[in-house]
Amino acid sequence: METPAVHHGAMFDTSELVINMGPQHPSTHGVLRVVLRLDGEKVVDADVVIGYLHRGIEKLSENRNWTQIILLTDRMDYVAAATNNVGYCETVEKLMSIEVPRRARYIRTIMCELQRIASHCLWIGTHAMDIGAMTVFLYAFRERELILDLFEEMCGARLTYNSMRIGGLPLDLPPGWDKKVLQFCSIMDTKIDEYEELLTHNRIWLERTKGIGVISGADAVALGLSGPPLRGSGVPRDVRKDEPYAAYEEMQFDVPIGTAGDTYDRYLVRLEEFRQSLRIIRQATDGLPEGPIVGKVPRLIKPPAGETYHAIESPKGELGYFIVSDGKSTNPYRFRVRPPSFCNLQGLRPLIKGHLIADVVALIGSLDVVLGEVDR
């Protein structure tokens, strides 16, 4: 790495400071490592180093049978495990052409959206914490706890749910669960306003987020950003709308988009997603159909030879599964995940160039990456 001296006139020659942020650092959200080249506090260039949490989930999956993989997908985006389960199960269902009953698709939708709220709660907490507002963190975790309780009642786990099966669900809903979900929705409505009260019109928050890490819609598409970072730049791309899966076809919801493409717009987009998710949950819970929860699934899961790519909208962005079956063995021949965090994190380097160190942590938070998913 060549470090050219920066010339401030003829008298002073100052060299750049190379600073290693992470993998152990309070605001790199796990084990992200960013090597910053600084001119004073300004970031001249950065190298984003990942792989500290690489567990070889793709390779492992190629040596597990189709059902065992569900629990590996939990371990990727561990703050949105149910979404990962849904994406994987739907991909296998697509490969095997299994029809999933409507009730199961509704429940999947509810879980995906609850998971989106839980994930965004974690995001808003840590993002605000990175910018120095510590109280939002505990407020958001208070609400996330309610969601985790709901999930615990549903499938017995609080973080890695293993809550889907190929063709449907392992268990039906516990009695009264839908009532509790609706109760949660009414609590959450007021809590979102609480977060907004602390942040949205706060002058310091505005100064710290407006105009920080601006990326145009075209650049965001070229960089492969997806999810809120892409929508914050004004590109109305949402897999739930564009390529509907689960029961999203039957749901009424809006895709919020930003205009400026800065950290503040990404923040606003996610806040609005809270509300849209609640809207979807209410619709799905109210219109929850009766019926079976598992479709016609063969005893031995062995999809015919072929390959497919299926994407869903995880809280982080487009979560795609590319799976190749050889039609002979009981495990996938190739199991590939398109992790949204990985692709979004790629945008970090262009975003932080020219900003200050304090903005680096704001931008890492604004991209909302989970290192379990980045490194797999």
């Binding site: 400071l17 120095g132 109280t135 706060n202 310091i204 710290r208 200050l356 304090a358």
Partner: protein, 340 residues
């Protein structure tokens, strides 16, 4: 003998010990208040409602291993926490906690000494305290602390200018640099200077937050950016000294703000005779209550606000606070000359 030796010594001992206890309980207060703000309980285990937590913390910090980084500048590294702690404590010498009272038939002033340049003494001693942070960051031989000490030196110098300018307007009002005389001046003018100098009061509070590295100006120790800033490499008792110095400085700022703007030990509305019954509360309690309000506000602000960025902090200091402070000073001077 008693007047010149024993009484000052007793006073010094009382003030020092009270300060140190107050500082440790300040930490507990901060944890409790922030916990309540965040719908938590805060420390609850040590003693009823966690009131013995400071003792447990102190023991923990004292028995922790004291680590000096290998390539650190050992002398400076050791001296830095002391440099930051000592000024924070010796400032209390001129803070008037109350007027002269009679204890056991002997007239005792509730302050250690009344220097005729008291305010200047506080400002100059506090300005030396900056070295603790700068040198601590520098001597650690680590990049995050170095960045923090660069931030600290720029931040503290910038805000010192604004704060000192507001002090000058108060000095103009009171016509004295002595802390006791400033309180007396407020008594004789029947007005707290917070009402006469609201702008100076506001600038002093903001500048005080910045000078004590409190949120939203806690950039030199920004945990999320610089992993703790200047004290990243410190552990055990040396870290504790930095930590305590910060809280001691907070108490200094609150005490100075109370003395200069809220009438020190005076009861509320010293000009309203009807409220004379309030005098049954001792003066020093009024002083402590007022200082406590400031401390509470400091904690409250920390629980609420996000952190400023370095350039925004400098912009606020140089482009907003200093011009406002200068304007305030000029207006104060003109009014003073025209009216008197």
């Amino acid at each position: 003998m008693i007047d010149h030796f024993v009484i000052p010594l007793v006073k010094i001992l009382v003030v020092l010990n009270a300060t140190l206890v107050a500082v440790t309980y300040m930490v507990l207060l901060e944890r409790k208040v922030i916990a309540w703000a965040q719908s938590r309980l805060g420390p609850m285990r040590v003693g009823p409602y966690g009131i013995l937590q400071p003792v447990a913390d102190a023991i923990k910090l004292m028995i922790k291993e004291d680590i000096t980084p290998v390539r650190a500048d050992k002398w400076v590294f050791t001296a830095a926490p002391i440099i930051s702690m000592v000024p924070a404590l010796i400032v209390y010498a001129v803070i008037p906690f109350g007027p002269e009272v009679t204890i056991f038939g002997r007239k005792v002033a509730l302050y250690i000494t009344d220097v005729n340049v008291g305010l200047l003494y506080i400002v100059s001693v506090a300005s030396v305290g900056v070295y603790g942070i700068i040198l601590g960051g520098y001597a650690s031989n680590s990049k995050f602390p170095l960045l923090a000490s660069l931030r600290a030196s720029a931040q503290l110098i910038s805000y010192e200018v604004a704060v000192t300018l507001t002090l000058v307007s108060v000095i103009l009002m009171a016509g004295s640099l002595s802390m006791v005389s400033i309180v007396r001046a407020q008594e004789s003018s029947h007005l707290w200077y917070a009402f006469v100098q609201p702008l100076a009061f506001g600038i002093f509070i903001i500048g005080g937050l910045a000078e004590t590295n409190r949120a939203p100006f806690d950039l030199p120790e920004a945990e999320q950016e610089l992993t703790g800033g200047f004290h990243t490499e410190y552990s055990g008792m040396r870290f504790a000294l930095f930590f305590l110095a910060e809280y001691a400085n907070m108490i200094v700022v609150s005490s100075v703000a109370t003395t200069l703007f809220l009438g020190g030990w005076l009861r509320p509305f010293p000009n309203v005779a009807m409220l004379g019954f309030l005098d049954f509360i001792p003066a020093w309690i009024w002083f402590l209550v007022k200082s406590f309000v400031f401390l509470y506000v400091f904690i409250w602000i920390r629980a609420t606000l996000p952190r400023y960025r370095y350039d925004q902090l400098m912009r606020l200091g140089w482009k907003v606070l200093i011009p406002l402070a200068i304007a305030n000073l000029v207006v104060t001077g003109i009014v003073k000359v025209l009216l008197l």
